[in-house]
């Protein structure tokens, strides 16, 4: 894909055709589209998109492409907040920020369920055809979000990164599970860094990518300013056998809001990744929501990312 330099020296290079999906591409009436997670299928790269409806509640839509750049969106949303059953009371205010992970060939989606009682919780669903989603369970306590599943078991247990609030601070934690239903052994992995670009709040963004050196986690970091938050994209390497251990953490963001579509929108100054695709040549495409108003993509190579600051 052709990339273009805007300003600054971001490690991730923006695709020239950004934004790749805007609200006009959505075939039903809605407010905005942002935060989509890529799913590599036999038919091409799909994106499960968060679409915010006009009432303010989010749903998921499916965008299909051959090349991961030019997408067509299905006519109807593929997943709506549950109206009945055990999920209804916990996601009546919307479903948000899906993240896809394949484990043993099964496509799992971790997403944020938003309800009136206790705010957000992490929920888990799975799909085999990407158009129909089967809910598995609500898997966190309330006040937790940004759940990303590791693509394989670690020491015999499933693992996820998540973002609970402890002491009024949003940090990245890890939890483990024998069965994807019951979770425990929660531990803090890393916290915001005073004075840095990620000093206010951090959270997991892209499901962890396994490399020889460790798990690459592409996360989001927030700095608070007098005119609101700035969301940037950062990187960290976690130990392969004990991912609660940080091996190296990038000192600088790899993507910061600079382009107009990242600076202008419902929530200005936001780059928020929800997934990435690594191809056989070790090129990486990171899909991100820009200003909570559109979907964009930026790219680099695994070699460059791993040798940059971490």
């Amino acid at each position: 894909m052709t990339t273009k330099q805007i300003t600054g020296e971001d490690l991730l290079k923006r695709f020239e055709g950004n934004p790749i999906i805007v609200i006009e591409d959505v075939p039903f009436r809605a407010n905005t589209v942002f935060n989509g997670t890529p799913i590599v299928t036999e038919d091409g790269i799909y994106l499960l998109l968060r679409v915010e409806g006009q009432q303010g509640f989010s749903v998921f839509a499916l965008a299909r492409s051959k090349d991961g750049l030019k997408f067509t969106i299905d006519k109807e949303p593929v997943m709506m907040p549950a109206k009945e059953g055990p999920f209804a009371r916990y996601e009546s205010l919307g479903i948000e920020d899906p993240r896809a992970t394949f484990i043993d060939g099964v496509c799992y989606i971790m997403y944020t369920a938003v309800g009136p009682r206790g705010g957000s919780r992490i929920a888990l669903a799975k799909t085999s055809d990407y158009a129909n989603y089967e809910r598995i369970a609500l898997v966190s306590e309330p006040g937790n979000k940004d759940g990303v599943l590791f693509p394989r078991k670690i020491n015999g247990l499933y693992a996820r990164l998540d973002r609970p609030i402890g002491r009024e601070t949003g940090s990245i934690w890890i939890s483990y599970s024998p069965d994807l239903l019951n979770w425990g052994k929660s531990e803090v992995v890393m916290t915001p860094r005073y004075g840095f670009w990620d000093e206010y709040r951090i959270g997991a963004s892209v499901p962890p990518i396994e490399t020889e050196e460790g798990w690459l986690e592409i996360y989001h970091g927030v700095k608070m300013t007098s005119s609101g938050p700035i969301y940037r994209v950062g990187i960290v390497l976690l130990d392969l056998d004990d991912p609660s251990k940080v091996i190296r953490r990038g000192s600088s963001p790899i993507l910061s809001p600079r382009a107009k579509y990242e600076r202008v929108g419902d929530v200005p100054n936001v780059c928020f990744a929800c997934g990435a695709v690594v191809d056989k040549d070790e090129n990486i495409k990171v899909y991100y929501g820009a200003a909570d108003t559109s979907i964009c993509v930026a790219s680099s190579t695994m070699k460059e990312i791993l040798s940059d600051q971490i």
Binding site: P164, W173, P178, S186
Partner: protein, 314 residues
């Protein structure tokens, strides 16, 4: 031990000799006393009281009763700072508090709140003799407290009450092994306009009665001079503890006495231990104004009546 002293229209009647344990009874310096979990061991009451030390750290101390009904509080913490080396753990750097004891399968399980650098969490320990303690680790996500184990399993699974900060409600969750927990459901929330409108949280561990699980909880109303902590009661289905059967519209105990109104934090009655005595008496150990441990009692009959029929009261 209990002579009733009618005070206002509270459902729970205070013991005439309250407070049961004052700071001056401790035999060592401290900043305040915060709660008392209760159990019966060898036919006697055993309390696990939370002491805040002058340094600001908290730990859980064992209190034994003597023949005259006086409590002796051990100086060495049972759980918490100086109790053992776990103080190095950043998840418990500020100490441990609010022990809730559940007797199950020959063991006393103690759920407590561990306060650390990254928030507060539920910790689990167990003992068979109140001398040796086995730690089972921290079992919740951060900023969740109010852990209280049910004394029976449901469909083969352990169950606990918990109070995540987000939403200020009481939740339940389940586990096969006391390590990995799931199936979290909200079971009781604050009620707009009521005495428990701002937030609610776990009180005593669930009490099994012939027709329900009785939950004693605390409810908070926000006033211009701070929170007002009272105790409430609710009944849940014996087979499905997510199913609410009855909830008292009125508190069962409100701060009224000086020892409940005056202390490090004013206007607090807060309960982490209760038990049924002589079949029909419910004994409640409670902390008053974060400064002393008190005890009160009522009848099962009275409290069930309150849960079922208090809708007409004002």
């Amino acid at each position: 031990m209990f002579r009733r002293k009618e005070e206002g229209r509270d459902i729970v009647h205070r013991w005439e000799g309250n407070p049961l344990i004052r700071m001056g009874d401790l035999g060592f310096r401290c900043a305040d006393i915060r709660s008392a979990g209760a159990a019966y061991y060898n036919g006697k009451t055993v309390l696990l009281i939370t002491v805040q030390h002058l340094s600001g750290h908290q730990s859980i101390h064992l209190a034994h009763v003597d023949e005259k009904g006086r409590f002796f509080v051990e100086k060495a913490p049972f759980i918490g700072p100086n109790g053992d080396s776990r103080n190095d753990n950043p998840h418990e750097s500020e100490g441990d508090m609010d022990a809730r004891i559940t007797y199950m399968d020959g063991k006393y399980y103690i759920m407590y709140m561990a306060c650390g650098d990254h928030g507060f969490r539920i910790g689990l320990a167990s003992t068979v003799d109140f001398v040796n303690l086995e730690y089972h680790g921290l079992i919740s996500e951060p900023d969740t407290k109010g852990g209280a184990l049910f004394s029976e399993k449901f469909n083969g699974r352990y169950a606990r009450l918990e109070r995540p900060k987000s939403g200020n409600s009481i939740w339940i969750s389940y586990s096969d092994d006391l390590v990995y927990w799931g199936g979290n459901e909200v079971i009781l929330s604050p009620r707009r306009g009521f005495w428990d409108s701002a937030r609610i949280g776990t009180g005593a561990p669930p009490i099994k009665l012939h027709n329900c699980w009785l939950i004693i909880y605390y409810g908070v109303k926000s006033t211009s001079s701070g929170p007002l902590f009272r105790l409430g009661a609710a009944m849940f289905d014996l087979k499905d503890p997510t199913k609410l059967i009855g909830r008292a519209n009125i508190p069962i105990l409100s701060p009224r006495e000086d020892y409940e109104r005056i202390g490090d934090q004013n206007n607090i009655v807060f309960c982490t231990g209760a038990s049924v005595q002589n079949e029909n008496e419910l004994q409640i150990f409670y902390n008053a104004a974060e400064s002393c441990v008190c005890v009160g009692s009522t009848t099962i009959h009275e409290i069930i009546d309150t849960c079922v029929y208090s809708k007409e009261e004002f």
